[in-house]
Amino acid sequence: MPNPIITMTSVNKWYGSYHALRNINFSVEPGERIVVCGPSGSGKSTMIRTLNRLEAHQEGTIVVDGIELHEKMKDVDLVRMDVGMVFQHFNLFPHMTVLQNLMAGPMWVRGASEKDARNTAMHYLEKVHIPEHKGKYPGQLSGGQQQRVAIARALCMQPKVMLFDEPTSALDPEMVSEVLDTMTELARDGMTMVCVTHEMGFAKAVADRVVFMDAGQIIEQAEPERFFASPKNERLKIFLGQILQH
């Protein structure tokens, strides 16, 4: 049994007096594909953002790739380099071309040469099927294209795990599938992924485990067949009822 790449043990987090994460115990094995779902405000983003310490937790331990995340850690960037993140609103750098967006990480952080960075960037642009847009600025691309560039940007750092926070929620409906297809291909390549998403089709197709959160807690987690066929928790049943209706 390999060591988990992510372990959260008894994690608690507060925003001021608001208890946002309640006793979270959660781990991810290398190569695992996890889908996290739950109602809005249940703490999904908060949880995923503690994994690269965009958010701080106050209690419990989080270990990512053998490094514990805590307030006094020396080099949080060592962890962040190995943890790719894709945001709901893409957050591409608007003043840089697609290629520059992709090359920045490897060159500025990993110390890659310009030539190597360019090769890596083109490799991943081809993987997300938009090499022809390399010279454009983010503002000239559609939402779906921007999100695929954002995925490629994270991949250029050759991360050990990828975090997705509702990557399709800000997209027009006809663009959702191109991003999901990219994510599915990534999963098939064996990437370790933690995805917050409400795309249950994606969950059924690629997830090894689906996690349901509510009110800051992990209520239930199971492999997709069991998760969808025989949910135990009442709130999960209601949630699935709402989300699968459509």
Binding site: L54, N91, A104, W108
Partner: protein
């Protein structure tokens, strides 16, 4: 540009009622002056007879004819394209403005003899002082802005004290305090560095707020994406945040530069040989104050116009670059 409506209303200046009303108003306004002893009366001699005997009939006729000409001018301009309107209205206002100076009976020969001296000596120092100051003030402002945005209480306290003090004390006093005060501490400072220091500290304080606003208006998502890639604070600031903040900062910074150009005249009080200082000294020797002050004023204005043009160039550059 403001939002331009796609339905064009009839131009105000082409509405008969407006034209008539304006003719009346302008005529009444002109009636308050005695125009019978001006050149207009001479020109209208065929109609009103000898100006000194024309009386109210003369005044009324002149006022009426002038106001008709005035409105005619406005109506005609109303028909023109934007650019032509701009050109004509600017020229007319400028002519009026110069006409106002013309009334001072200035000694133009005197101006001519001193003009190049003012330009070569004064303008050079003024530009040099302002440019060095704006560059240094920008650097101060950058640090000030970062400090004001930081969660470090020490940095925030220093920065907010600094901006509060230097925005709150008149620049003229800062100039004096630095020039006269520093030597008290045993540090003798020349007039030019003292002037530059005062301008840097004062404008650095104003620009701190401008920079802070610019940095703050870059979305939080940009910080998150950058930090999530493993970029450290300094790298994020330099390569991700500032390049996006600078286009937002430039219009106000240009404003500050123009303001500084004129405020640099305050350092003349400690004997820096800039434009204002030379204008005052050159004029006072020959009791020709007005000539030199007006010349200096026009030179300041010309410099500001050049800066305005440069500023709009830069703004256009950033507008076309961002998509």
């Amino acid at each position: 540009m403001l939002y331009v409506d796609t339905v064009v209303a009839e131009r105000l200046v082409h509405r008969p009622r407006f034209i008539v009303a304006m003719v009346v108003v302008v005529s009444l306004a002109l009636l308050t002056f005695n125009l019978n002893d001006t050149v207009f009366a001479e020109i209208l001699r065929p109609i009103i007879g000898a100006p000194d005997q024309a009386g109210w009939f003369g005044r009324l006729s002149i006022a009426f004819i002038l106001s008709i000409l005035f409105m005619l001018n406005i109506v005609v301009i109303g028909f023109l394209q934007f650019k032509l309107q701009l050109l004509i209205v600017w020229s007319e206002l400028l002519l009026l403005f110069l006409f106002f100076f013309y009334g001072f009976e200035l000694d133009f020969d005197f101006i001519r003899t001193k003009f190049w001296f003012l330009v070569t000596q004064g303008v050079f120092t003024t530009l040099y002082v302002s440019m060095v100051s704006i560059v240094l003030a920008s650097i101060v402002a950058l640090f000030g802005a970062v400090a004001k945005l930081s969660s470090n209480g020490f940095a925030y306290a220093i920065a907010s004290f600094y901006t509060s003090l230097f925005r709150g004390v008149p620049l003229l006093m800062q100039v004096y305090l630095i020039y006269l005060g520093l030597p008290q501490l045993g540090y003798v400072i020349d007039a030019v560095p003292a002037g530059i220091l005062a301008l840097v500290l004062c404008y650095g304080a104003y620009m701190t707020e401008i920079f802070r606003g610019g940095i703050q208006s870059v979305s939080k998502g940009q910080w998150e994406a950058s930090r999530a890639l493993g970029f450290k604070f300094g790298l994020t600031m330099r390569r991700i945040i500032l390049p996006q903040a600078i286009p937002l900062i430039i219009p106000s910074t240009g404003n500050q530069f123009i303001a500084m150009l004129k405020d640099s005249s305050l350092v003349s009080v400690i004997g820096v040989w800039e434009l204002m200082f030379l204008a005052r000294t050159a004029g006072s020797k020959d009791f020709r104050h007005m000539e030199m002050l007006i010349t200096a004023a026009l030179i300041y204005w010309a410099l500001s116009i050049i800066l305005e043009l440069i500023q709009s160039r830069i703004e256009r550059h950033y507008r076309t670059q961002s998509h």
